[in-house]
């Protein structure tokens, strides 16, 4: 079945089964491999993308449910060479080790800051609870989200 997807501001077409998870459409059909498979059960957050501004687990989202909606992946956060404040903050704080969870962490954090520009520690932890970092870099990720908040929204950056 042919689907039209609005990914990172560009219209994309994929002729795939309607139940195919968005994750695999992004990775295998559209070549956007920044979004990762971690568990396929919506438990780890490595596959997080923004769908109409909301963080969604793309491993559990059939492509048919994402058609026609605005999808932002990790590849769509930076503007040319300029990193999104959350990306810049993760880099500044070095909030990663193996970094396999990093795209999902950054997309989740970007969604949080979009709605809550100055989150408390508790708000950060509650919002990010569904994202797993097996290297245990949680402390630095909290620091990075705080730093990104202080850097301001992408429009002002």
């Amino acid at each position: 079945m042919a689907f039209t997807l609005l990914v990172n501001g560009t219209e994309q077409h994929a002729d795939v089964e309607p139940e195919k998870p968005l994750l695999y459409v992004l990775r295998d059909d559209l070549g956007l491999t920044g979004t990762k498979y971690g568990c396929g059960e919506g438990q780890c957050g490595a596959c997080t993308v923004l769908v109409d501004g909301s963080p969604e687990r793309s491993c559990r989202l059939p492509v048919s449910s994402a058609a026609g909606k605005k999808i932002i992946t990790i590849e769509g956060l930076s503007r040319g060479d300029r990193l999104h404040p959350v990306q810049q903050a993760f880099l500044d704080v070095e909030a990663f080790q193996c970094a396999y969870c990093t795209p999902g962490m950054i997309v989740s954090a970007a969604a949080l800051l979009e709605r809550t520009p100055n989150p408390s520690q508790e708000q950060i932890i509650n919002h990010m609870e569904g994202n797993i970092c097996r290297c245990g870099t949680y402390g630095r990720i909290v620091d990075a989200v705080r730093r990104a908040a202080s850097l301001g929204s992408p429009k002002n950056a």
Partner: protein, 729 residues
């Protein structure tokens, strides 16, 4: 490993032998031995890298045949080189190592050491890692050996290269080499006020030099690039999603694979009907012995084809986790085993001299590494050569596995390890590589195979479970009199006590393990630290002596004393007493060249345990990258919290009961305590590895703090998977 669950014999029985050898390595953390039969000649190097200067270090046993520096112009390089480094005509430096990057940040810390000794800016150094065609042989990235061994190796080759460049400049100017200095990628002549860049020196050259010298290395007190907190060299690629992990690699015409797994461990295939799967267009089906797999153009079709296969399996009855510890206590059936024992004085004769004695048993559960990137491989057969990209800690061993599985020469196999989505000791083997290669061979096209989370939880291997009995005695003043220690199955690493005890018997007993088990970050050291440091806490309480004071009284090692004191001071140990559900605990030790002490504060409210604050002091010699090290240490504390408090693999009759993240709880953001790391930077000591030992202090510190808070002594890891047991239980 005696457990036939390790048999990946559906491809080749030979693999079992490999698995056996691997288990020996894992159990003992054998130190890598660096020699390589070199099958890449100098022309090959220059073809890949362009002109310039190639500096090699001959393997130690080859040194007797060569004296000092040997210049090789046209003939081939000697057969036994153990490290090499290239300086390009544009001044770019390429260092080669068989080690791999799995998140421990060695791509950066090794580059720092090259830049330091070669006197070049860090951005001009790049590392080629974990590629069996391009890098020197390496046994694997494990045992915390990268920093002490590979760091030293690369420092030596870089210091030698610097000396070669100085000699080249001296010849170029007809100057006295003694007046020349290297710095910032150039050689300066202080007498004549002139300088030349490395790029200019090697321009138009295709020169290789083989050196057997042991050069003078730069002292850590003089480090300018090593010893500093530079950030990950390719960090930007990770925050943009541009970095290609194994699972992101795409090859022309590539298919996606899926394996049909047995219903239980040790199951034998009785019958198999693949006809429905074969009817699906574009699907390639492989049935080879007990191996069943499919490949197709996309993952959905591959999944559908795998589900369409009707397979009947026969599995023998197997024990469950409820019977685990009884099983581990039984002697191993293989008498030619790995028993290890250490004896000092006589426990039997000293027993009566103790006024307080204590005997307790501690256990640890099986736990899973759960690397966020599951096992993955992309395999491609081309012109008789097999190339596999895979996230393994042992690329050369996986190349051997592949060569044996497909009965091809090792030279026909190339394994490339992209920087990988973590491993923690869980990726020593090449299961996904062999499977992907089998599918690719059948399909005649490259195949990508990514294990599902459930496969990773089931068909990978686990950190060994174990039972540890400790019997001890002390005098009234707290002096330890005897120490008797029996470890069943969890492994001998860090089994010996760092405390001074005149009479000791410490034994490791191997068992017939019910699950496939292998290496894990810090492996047995976590279990042995938990048992010993919990027991020390119990004994201190029996003696009514402060837990820190009791340790220091029995401890002579200065470096271990120093980290205990550093952690205690930062934590404010002894300033507060546990009460009303708040408690404090301490633990520490020595392993793999690292000295560790951990203090923890826990809160116990209505049975719920929360670790509030952790202070950890660590000494691993001269620190190569302080921020990178702090990141590792904080991460190890977080990861260690999982095994300490709630991680456990549950199993029943050959099946894993909790093979999903919804059922196997790993640490999350809400588990994050306030963590403070104290680095004891010993610039006078050799730099040692730091990926593992920082995980060993947290479990005993937390267990001891729980007792302090609630008066409940927990001796089984995980300590409180469902919160604290109620006092009545």
């Amino acid at each position: 490993m005696r457990d036939p669950a390790n048999r990946m014999d559906y491809v080749a029985d030979d693999l079992y032998e490999v698995a056996l050898q691997d288990s020996e390595l894992r159990q003992h953390d054998t130190i890598s031995h660096l020699t390589h039969t070199f099958n890449f000649d100098r022309r090959g190097f220059f073809k890949v890298l362009g002109g310039g200067l190639l500096v090699c270090i001959a393997a130690r046993h080859a040194i007797s045949q060569e004296s000092g520096a040997t210049v090789h112009h046209d003939h081939e390089l000697p057969k036994t080189l153990d490290s090499w480094l290239h300086i390009g005509e544009n001044g770019e430096v390429t260092a080669f190592t068989g080690k791999v990057e799995v998140g421990q940040n060695v791509r950066t810390s090794l580059a720092q050491q090259v830049a330091e000794e070669l006197r070049v800016p860090l951005p001009s150094v790049r590392l080629i890692m974990g590629d069996t065609d391009l890098t020197p042989y390496d046994m694997g990235t494990f045992g915390s050996r990268t920093t002490p061994q590979m760091g030293m190796q690369l420092r030596k080759v870089s210091a030698n290269a610097r000396a070669v460049l100085i000699r080249m400049a001296a010849e170029h100017w007809s100057a006295d080499a003694a007046n020349l200095q290297a710095g910032d990628g150039r050689i300066r002549d202080s007498k004549a006020d002139r300088s030349i860049t490395y790029a200019e020196l090697v321009h138009g050259q295709k020169l290789s030099k083989v050196i057997a010298d042991d050069p003078q290395l730069t002292s850590a007190t003089d480090w300018k690039i090593a010893g500093t907190s530079v950030t990950k060299t390719n960090g930007r690629d990770f925050v943009t999603g541009a970095h290609e992990y194994t699972s992101d690699i795409k090859r022309p015409g590539m298919l996606h694979g899926k394996i049909v797994r047995p219903t239980a461990f040790h199951a034998k295939l009785i019958s198999c009907d693949t006809s429905q799967a074969e009817k699906i267009p574009g699907v390639s089906v492989v049935r080879d012995g007990d191996f069943i797999g499919v490949s197709a153009a996309d993952v959905i079709t591959a999944d559908r084809a795998a589900q369409a296969i009707r397979a009947q399996w026969d599995a023998p009855p197997q024990i469950s986790d409820r019977e685990l510890f009884d099983q581990l206590r039984k002697p191993a059936s293989d008498k030619d085993d790995d028993t290890e024992q250490y004896v000092l004085g006589s426990v039997a004769q000293s027993r009566t001299r103790a006024v307080k004695t204590l005997k307790q048993t501690y256990t640890v559960a099986y736990i899973a590494h759960t690397p966020l990137e599951p096992r993955a491989a992309v395999a491609e057969w081309k012109d008789g050569k097999l190339t596999v990209w895979t996230g393994t800690q042992r690329p050369f061993a996986v190349a051997e596995e592949l060569a044996q599985a497909f009965r091809v020469p090792t030279e026909s196999v190339r394994v490339i390890v992209p920087d990988t989505g973590s491993a923690y000791g869980g990726k020593h083997t090449g299961e996904a590589a062999v499977e992907a290669a089998r599918l690719a061979k059948a399909a005649g096209k490259p195949v990508k195979l990514i294990w599902s989370r459930e496969e990773e939880f089931t068909w990978a291997y686990f950190r060994p479970s174990g039972v540890i009995d400790v019997s001890s005695g002390a005098k009234a003043d707290g002096t330890l009199v005897f120490w008797e220690y029996d470890n069943y199955n969890s492994g001998p690493a860090a089994m010996r006590t760092p405390y001074e005890v005149a009479n000791q018997r410490i034994t490791f007993h191997p068992s017939d393990a019910p699950l496939r088990q292998g290496s894990y970050r810090s492996l047995a050291a976590a279990a042995n630290h938990f048992a010993r440091e919990s027991h020390m806490d119990e004994l201190a309480r029996e003696l009514r002596i402060d837990a820190l004071e009791f340790r220091l009284k029995n401890l002579k090692n200065d470096r271990l004393r120093a980290v205990f004191q550093a952690a205690a001071e930062k934590f404010g140990w002894g300033k507060q007493k546990g009460s009303n559900g708040t408690g404090f605990g301490i633990g520490g030790g020595f392993e793999k060249g690292g000295y560790i002490a951990t203090c923890a504060e826990v809160s116990v409210k209505s049975g719920a345990v929360k670790v509030m604050r952790v202070v950890q002091a660590f000494d691993c010699g001269a620190v190569v990258n302080p921020q990178g090290l702090k990141n590792q240490i904080a991460g190890a504390i977080m990861q260690g919290l999982g095994g300490a408090l709630f991680e456990a693999i549950r199993f029943e009759n050959g099946r894993i009961v909790n093979p999903h993240l919804a059922e196997y709880r790993v640490p999350r953001f809400s588990d994050l305590p306030h963590i403070e790391v104290v680095l004891v930077d010993r610039k006078d000591q050799r730099s040692m590895g730091a990926g593992e030992t920082p995980l060993t202090g947290i479990a005993p510190a937390v267990g001891n703090a729980i007792f302090d808070a609630a008066g409940v002594r927990l001796r089984s890891m995980p300590l409180a998977p469902g919160g604290l047991p109620s006092p009545a239980a």
